[in-house]
Symmetry: C2
Subunit: 333 residues, 2 copies
DNA sequence: CTGAAAGCGCTTACAG
DNA sequence: CTGAAAGCGCTTACAG
């Protein structure tokens, strides 16, 4: 890298344009406030000097960081990626930047990341994991940052929650399977609060409607393709052979499907499969996968929308924003 | 949110601990410089006040942002995700935060994002896309920011590049296929500079070794599963039926595989398949996919390592850091 | 090991 | 519509 030349600062631009720094600042932040001729001179001075404003200084003076922190467990869980992507896109329209934090599968690094976000005076913190640590909850509450919890609808959100009911997802799947005449579901679930809520919703509904207690298997957290394959092999040895496998993710469902194909087991005739998430692959697999579609991008947009409403001074009364979900019936069940 | 109480600032902590702000600052940044007894009093004062330092102010005073910008085309291209994840993990160890920017598939938003990063006085900018705009290249060069281009090794990097040779990947695949006795490759490529470099490497090597000009198909940018399926169907109608399909991504390869399975075409006996990227799925599909493994996480770590070396005052002489790649021969070819 | 003081580069009432 | 000036909350030579 070449030596760093002294960077032009606002005063340099001002001198060149024959105005004060205050006017340059106004030109940059509230252009409507400066006369057209003045504006043009400043515009040119900015161009000629290659001036790039220092937003650390600006933020300190205005106490606006224009920084939003987005905290997700990891990036492999591509189910959150659409949400992050939509958020980043929307926020950059507003001139915000997003700080990406990875809290880890167990959310262990969440308190440290929240503290980092608060140090930067983030305008908002958007969470996808569950924050259990009460001290950190209190810290955020006392600071007046906007906190948006996504992908779930906790009873008592820290601030605002944007998501859907995982219980309701489980219930809907149970309804659907009954209506199709399935009688012996087998549950394949990843560990994790949300998957567990869906599972519970399913089981409660299934039993309440007179179904037998379903057989089940669960996996430590990360649900990858391979688990679905292994699980399918064990399935064949159960006393009661299931007629449908309810998977907590499309990854698992895909694993089951591939293994079934390889074993010559017909889906859905011999065993049906239901996934969750509606990943791109769900519509492309053969057979196509029956699953639950979540509009992840919409979650991101609604989250940003909350920020905008609050920035506009609006009082947010609805602390739960339900984006719902759709069961998509395809070939696999 | 509750009303925002006035936040405790460094002076409040100092007063409580009976020291000056300077000492509190030293305690926070260079703890070795303060006496043990003093340190303990400050530690307690920090705890009691719930003080969280303001890093915008700190950054302005010290002209260190501890902010690194990571710019990727989008998040669907999960091939970069391992790199981002590793980078974020490593950087947070150093107390840096990462600003995530999405440049768009055509990298159209890259200049705006770079300018946003410079406004925040980012310590470094890490790119995965290709930056064509010369004005922006110059801007970064003149600013003395560390710029790391990843996932490729351009002849003239802006600053430092961490990646591998896409040409060499294409050549290796050609070698491999010849050694296995394949004679009629068909190329399935996504548009995009890197895929094109691999394609060219393959074709050059193939022709140089006396092979026939391969047939090929290409897709506009995003290569998803579905393209592979559609392509496979068209394949069967070619004059010269290929004996191996060389795909520019595992997504495409997977699509080909699934469609072949559905059509009852045996892989690799009737047609072989090679992918690129070694996504999780490559090892899990049936048959498993022969592909090129890139250690994406290592790219992220090496990038951070460059930052650390430079932070330590080291002069970086090797502007190309080659992380290499591995061809993994599995069942599909 | 610690403090007083200047300074980082902006923004924003206040006054005109 | 514009300017002079105070202030945002830290860091860091400098001096002791």
């Amino acid at each position: 890298m070449s030596e760093r030349l002294p960077l032009p600062k606002m005063g340099d631009v001002a001198a060149r344009a024959g105005v004060s720094s205050a006017t340059v600042s106004r030109f940059l932040n509230t252009p409507g406030m400066v006369a057209a001729a003045t504006a043009e001179r400043i515009r040119r001075a900015v161009e000629e000097t290659g001036y790039v404003p220092d937003l650390m200084a600006g933020g300190l003076a205005s106490s606006k960081s224009r920084l939003v922190a987005a905290l997700v467990p990891d990036m492999a869980q591509s189910i959150f990626n659409a949400t992050i992507e939509a958020m980043v896109d929307e926020l950059s329209i507003d001139g915000h930047i997003v700080m990406l934090g990875l809290t880890g599968i167990d959310n262990g690094r969440m308190p440290a990341l929240i503290s980092a976000a608060l140090s930067r005076r983030a305008d908002a913190i958007i969470l996808t994991g569950i924050l259990s640590d009460p001290a950190t909850r209190d810290l955020m509450r006392s600071r007046g940052v906007t906190v948006i919890e996504t992908w779930g609808l906790p009873d008592d959100p820290i601030d605002v929650a944007v998501g859907f009911s995982h219980r309701a997802v489980g219930q809907d799947i149970a309804h659907f399977l009954r209506s199709r005449g399935y009688a012996r579901p087998h549950l394949l679930s990843a560990a994790g609060t949300r998957a567990m809520e869906r599972r519970q919703g399913f089981v409660d509904d299934w039993l309440a409607s007179g179904g037998e207690q379903p057989s089940e298997q669960s996996f430590p957290s990360q649900t990858r393709f391979g688990n679905g394959r292994a699980a399918f092999r064990q399935l064949r040895e159960l006393d009661v052979v299931p007629d449908v496998v309810v998977c907590s993710s499309d990854w698992l469902a895909q694993g089951v499907l591939v293994e079934a194909m390889a074993a010559g087991v017909k889906v859905p005739d011999e065993v049906a499969v239901v996934g969750f998430g509606n990943l791109a692959i769900a519509a492309e697999m053969r057979p196509t996968i029956t699953t639950i579609d979540i509009d992840g991008a919409r979650i991101g947009r609604e989250a940003v929308n909350v920020l905008r409403r609050r920035a506009a001074g609006e009082k947010i009364l609805d602390r739960h924003i339900d984006v719902g979900f759709r069961l998509i019936a395809r070939e696999s069940a």
